[in-house]
């Protein structure tokens, strides 16, 4: 009976078509599943780089500005640069101590340790602003601000800054 059914032309055509379409549909389902997965991953990547690109502009501008400073400046030295800033602000440091020079990647960092006692908050802010926005490529590596025991409005500032130059 089955043999007779299969030997019938229409039945054979129907069976062949069903088989072909089933194979096609299954293959398409697998391909679609794979494509959906790939698209989901791509969407995630897009979302990720979209969110990263928001902060990227800021990073790029910092890097560009710092690199520009390095390129333009012919600095005399880290101690004299810091002394120049302090002089402009009328602040006297109790300690200015040059530290070792260090090679980091393509740059050279020349550190300086600075200690200022009995300084008010306004002067600290002015000093930090001047250091951060100095025409020389200076960066602050560490800061310690402590109130004094006698007067909570008077502080001790310990700062490590670094002058960066091309190595």
């Amino acid at each position: 009976m089955i043999r007779e059914f299969i030997s019938d032309r229409i039945s054979l055509l129907l069976i062949t078509s069903i088989l072909a379409l089933t194979i096609f549909t299954i293959t398409m389902s697998i391909i679609i599943g794979d494509k959906e997965k790939k698209n989901r991953l791509l969407k995630n990547k897009l979302t990720e780089i979209n969110s990263l690109s928001e902060g990227l502009l800021q990073i790029k501008s910092i890097v560009r500005s710092k690199e520009k400073k390095i390129g333009l400046t012919n600095s005399s030295g880290v101690v004299s640069t810091i002394e120049h800033i302090l002089k402009k602000l009328g602040i006297e440091a109790s300690v200015i101590k040059p530290l070792e020079k260090r090679h980091v990647k393509e740059f050279v960092e020349h550190d300086v340790a600075l200690e200022i006692k009995d300084i008010d908050l306004n002067s600290i802010v002015n000093l930090l602003y001047r250091v951060e926005n100095a025409p020389q490529p200076i960066k602050i590596k560490s800061t310690l601000i402590q109130t004094s025991f006698e007067n909570p409005d008077i502080f001790t500032l310990k700062l490590t800054a670094s002058l960066i130059s091309k190595g």
Binding site: S17, N39, L56, I62, E132, S142, I145
Partner: protein, 353 residues
């Protein structure tokens, strides 16, 4: 289900109707029609008004050619395969012109006596045509006389079985298990098969239709996914080009983006120091009533500050408010001092891009 055995004898036509109830065939009706002339469609139409689902036809013994054959074996398959050759020369025409079936009448250890029942194919075709044209196509063609004779040719020739009750009983037995069937090969009953075939074909057409819908849908989905894929890739490329316009060789923008970002982050870790003023401003802008800071210590890794608060809740609330601008905030120390204030230390990190 109604089953009907049409008992066609030389002089009469008996129709035994059976109803199947709980696996048993129960005789429900007997119709008898005398046959004065040859059996024809009119007689059949007038005798059988309803159309039973299952029809078995018993044909008169004089329509058949019956031969006794002895085989030197008792294998049924061998008998089936060789019976036509054994009958060659025993029939009026060649065996190809006959539809042949047989019943085994006697079997010994190495011998079989067989009664071969043959009918001329033309005659068989005419019988089937006569019955089919009135919508009474028989599923099986057999003979009640051969059943009643028990396969003995002597009884078949010498005895007549005319009693209705006896024939009705034989009809019931025949319905349950036909003794032989002359509808074979090209005369096989195919009405049910045709009906089933039609149903299956219709089901197949429906399946095919559904599959066509599915495959069309899949194709459209695939095309749309492909377009979406291209669009997302283009968007990623655009974002990359916008971020790094100088980079002309773009192969894998997402990976290149992360690579460039990593390179910039490494550069910034060297070039940019800690943004003390920004950190101090972020802390100062928080609503931190009751919080007094005594010490601020920041380096490239961590930001630490120490202070006092009115309660542990204030410390916790201060910590929570810091989480908007900073990461990895931990209260490293929190204890009540002698002046009923809570002194605390908080360590945190700047948020990373």
């Amino acid at each position: 289900m109604k089953t009907c055995l049409i008992d066609w004898t030389e002089n009469d036509l008996h129709i035994y109707s059976f109803e199947k109830k709980k696996g048993q065939f129960i005789l429900s009706d007997i119709i008898s029609v005398p046959l004065e002339d040859e059996l024809n469609q009119d007689i059949l139409s007038s005798a059988i008004t309803s159309h039973p689902e299952n029809i078995i036809l018993s044909i008169p013994v004089n329509s058949l050619s019956v031969r006794e054959v002895t085989f030197p074996f008792n294998s049924k398959s061998k008998i089936n395969a060789t019976i036509a050759y054994e009958l060659e020369g025993l029939l009026l025409a060649g065996t190809d012109d006959y539809s042949i079936d047989h019943i085994v009448t006697e079997t010994t250890e190495n011998e079989s006596r067989v009664l071969a029942i043959c009918i001329n194919k033309i005659k068989l075709s005419e019988i089937i045509e006569t019955f089919s044209s009135t919508g009474l196509e028989p599923r099986i063609i057999t003979s009640l006389d051969i059943r009643l004779s028990g396969g003995s040719t002597d009884r078949l020739i010498n005895k007549t079985f005319t009693e209705k009750e006896v024939r009705a009983e034989a009809a019931e037995e025949e319905i349950k298990s036909p003794i032989f069937n002359l509808r074979k090969d090209e005369f096989s009953y195919v009405k049910d098969f045709k009906r089933i075939k039609k149903t299956i074909q219709l089901s197949f057409i429906l399946i095919l239709f559904l599959l066509l819908i599915f495959s069309t849908n899949s194709t459209f989905k695939f095309i749309s996914l492909k377009e979406e894929h291209t669009l997302i890739k283009k968007k990623i490329h655009n974002v990359y080009q916008k971020a790094f316009p100088d980079d002309k060789k773009v192969l894998d923008p997402a990976r290149q983006f992360k690579g460039n970002l990593k390179r910039l982050n490494e550069k910034i870790s060297v070039l940019a120091g800690i943004d003390v003023l920004d950190t101090l401003r972020s802390i100062a802008n928080l609503k931190n009533n009751g919080i007094i800071l005594h010490e601020f210590n920041a380096d490239e890794m961590n930001i630490l500050f120490k202070g006092t608060a009115g309660s542990f809740e204030e410390v916790e609330s201060f910590k929570n408010s810091l989480s908007i601008s900073f990461d990895d905030i931990r209260i490293t120390e929190s204890k009540a001092s002698t002046d009923k204030n809570i002194s605390f230390s908080i360590v945190m990190k700047e948020k990373q891009i």
